[in-house]
Every structure is written in C-alpha cells, then in structure tokens.
C-alpha cells in the first residue's frame, strides 16, 4: 500500500492505515470489485491515566491503574476495534456465478482500550 505520510505516529491507541489489495493476496482473478479497500487496524498504547478520547471501559481504567502499580503482573488494556463498517464485494463464485455480497465488520472506523 502507498507509504503513509511521514508523521510522528502517536503512541496512543487509534486506527492506523491498512490498505488491503486483493491482488497482493492473489485473489484478483475472482474478485471483480473492489480491487482493494482501506481496512485499517488498531494500534497504540492504553497508558495510565486513560484519557477520555481513548474510548475505554471502567474496567480498562482500573486495569491501567493496576498495571501502573504492577507492570509485570498486570498487562495494559488492549487497543481493539470498537466500531466497524461493512463493504460489498462483487465476485465470481465457484460455479462462475456473479455474486454481490454484503460483508459486515470489514473496515475499522474506531478503536478503544478494552
């Protein structure tokens, strides 16, 4: 995928750019459209004290506190997708039929600490 702009990546949990090109995974001969799509992924830290914009649960807040007291014993919360959106894919199936199918949870829109 095209190199993302050289920004200093924020260490905090947030969506990161991931473009999936179907030709990169060898699927271009049966997927008609799209040729690829922006799927993104979640990456970054959930440090103590969890800031409000990190979209975290009460449990994650407590976990970061315990982690700050006992880093070896308790890990930080994880940075995971909390809101995803669907895409539609147009493709040929195993019997050469043309299929338009709607797939949920294919794009990461928002991440959070859990």
């Amino acid at each position: 995928s095209p190199p993302s702009p050289p920004l200093t990546p924020s260490p905090l949990c947030k969506p990161r750019r991931l473009y999936i090109s179907f030709s990169d995974v060898g699927w271009e001969n049966w997927i008609i459209a799209p040729q690829g799509y922006l799927a993104n992924y979640c990456g970054g830290d959930c440090p103590f004290p969890l800031a409000a914009e990190l979209n975290s649960t009460n449990h994650a807040v407590l976990q970061t506190m315990v982690h700050s007291l006992d880093p070896q014993g308790t890990p930080q919360p994880c940075c995971v997708p909390v809101r995803l959106s669907p895409i539609s894919i147009l493709y040929y199936d195993n019997s050469d039929n043309v299929v338009l199918r709607h797939y949920e949870d294919m794009v990461v829109d928002e991440c959070g600490c859990r």
């Binding site: 990169d24 995974v25 060898g26 699927w27 001969n29 049966w30 008609i32 459209a33 799209p34 809101r83 959106s85 669907p86 895409i87 539609s88 894919i89 147009l90 493709y91 040929y92 199936d93 195993n94 019997s95 050469d96 039929n97 043309v98 299929v99 338009l100 199918r101 709607h102 797939y103 949920e104 794009v107 829109d109 928002e110």
Partner: protein
C-alpha cells in the same frame, strides 16, 4: 503477499469460509457482470458512511437480502415438437443453484431473457407472441398436466425481458441444488388462422436468473429485532 503466499492452505481456507466460499474460485468462463449489480455495488460504495447501520436490504428491488447472485443458464434448445412450426422457440433453462448455502432464505427471483435484435416479433403484424414457462424435470420435459409458471402475450419482445419468479419459486425457501424450466415462445393465432412460424430462434440471446437471498447473519439480526 507473505501471509497467504507462505501458507495458502489453512489461513486462506479460513478467510474464504468467512466470505461464504468453500474454496478459492477460479472462474473458467466468467460471464459479463449484469449492469444492475454494478449499479447496486457503486451505489452502496458511494452511500456507505462509516458506522452507517447498513440494513440487510436490496433497495433496488425493495426486498430484504444481503446476497445477490446471477446464475447463467446451462440449458439447451429442445425440439419444437408437433405440429412443426407451432413454436418459435423451445428451450430448457437449467440453473445450478448449488452455491446457495444452508440457511439462506430466498426473497426474490427474477429471470431475464435477452434477445439479439432490439425487438423479437411475430412474422406478421398484428399477431402476438405467447410466452410460457414451465417447471421441468431435469431431463428437460415439462411435467405433464402442469400449468405454466408464467404465461404472457406480447406484441413484440424487447432486447431484455425480466420475469418475476419469486412467488413461483415458493418465496422464502431457497430452491434445491438446481432449477429446470422449459421456455416456449409461439406466435399466437386469432383462433381461426393457424399459428404461423415467427422470427427464428436465433433472435434469442441468453437467459440468466437473478436471486436475492437473506443470509444466516442477516436472518439472525432480523430475528433479534
């Protein structure tokens, strides 16, 4: 890519299964993509906003559904039967529906007949073309005594003729592993004069069957609601 190239087996199979495919398709004779599917695809792409709750509906057909498939006809032309010249065209339409998965519910079925010429009409003006569609046995013969699924008269047939089969295919139940129909087109007489042969069957181009189904995921979501 390193991931799938290194282990095309298990990982790719898991990915494909999550996409509803038993194996990686390798289209041998891919047909053209029907314009209606492109329209739906592009409309969904432009309308899709992050987080927009996408309903399990195909707005273009005003039916519930999250999977739209177009099946190509694998049937053959049939002998016209007696008396000769009674029919312009008699064809077995055969659709392999084995791609339908367990738990899918059929919500719409549309047969599309396509003709080469812009209009397919009887030899003499004023006559009508009669079109009948029967359910057939896989051997290609109409089941005796069965009334036609569809019976229509036309002054002429346009380049493309959609026929709604939703009710005929028992709406709600996905058909078995294949569907066999017999299509007959004849030049209607006015009762007195015998039917005369009409435009030859080479005006007929192709047929395809468009099915909209509600996949298990959508059915579960609708059930919860």
């Amino acid at each position: 890519s390193p991931v799938l190239a290194a282990a095309p087996g298990p990982q790719e199979r898991i990915l494909l299964r999550s996409l509803g495919l038993s194996a990686k398709p390798s289209p041998s004779s891919p047909g053209p993509v029907p314009p209606v599917l492109w329209r739906i695809f592009h409309k969904r792409r432009t309308l899709a906003r992050p987080g927009e709750p996408q309903s399990c509906r195909v707005e273009e057909f005003h039916v519930p559904g999250d999977i739209v498939r177009v099946f190509a006809d694998r049937g053959r032309f049939l002998p016209e039967g007696q008396p000769p010249g009674r029919l312009c065209l008699r064809k077995l339409l055969f659709f392999n529906l084995s791609a339908l998965e367990e738990g899918e519910r059929l919500t719409m079925a549309q047969l599309e007949l396509r003709f080469h010429h812009n209009s397919y009409q009887p030899a003499s003006p004023g006559q009508v073309l009669e079109l009948r569609l029967y359910r057939a046995s896989p051997g290609g013969l109409p089941r005796p005594g069965r009334s036609p699924l569809v019976e229509r008269s036309f002054v002429q047939l346009r380049k493309s003729l959609p026929l709604d089969l939703s009710a005929a295919l028992k709406d709600g139940a996905a058909p078995g592993s294949n569907l066999a129909l017999v299509l007959e087109i004849s030049a209607g007489g006015d009762g007195g004069t015998p039917r005369s042969p009409c435009g030859s069957s080479d005006a007929f181009a192709a047929t395809s069957l468009l099915l909209v189904t509600l996949g298990p995921r959508c059915r579960a979501a609708r059930g919860r609601r």
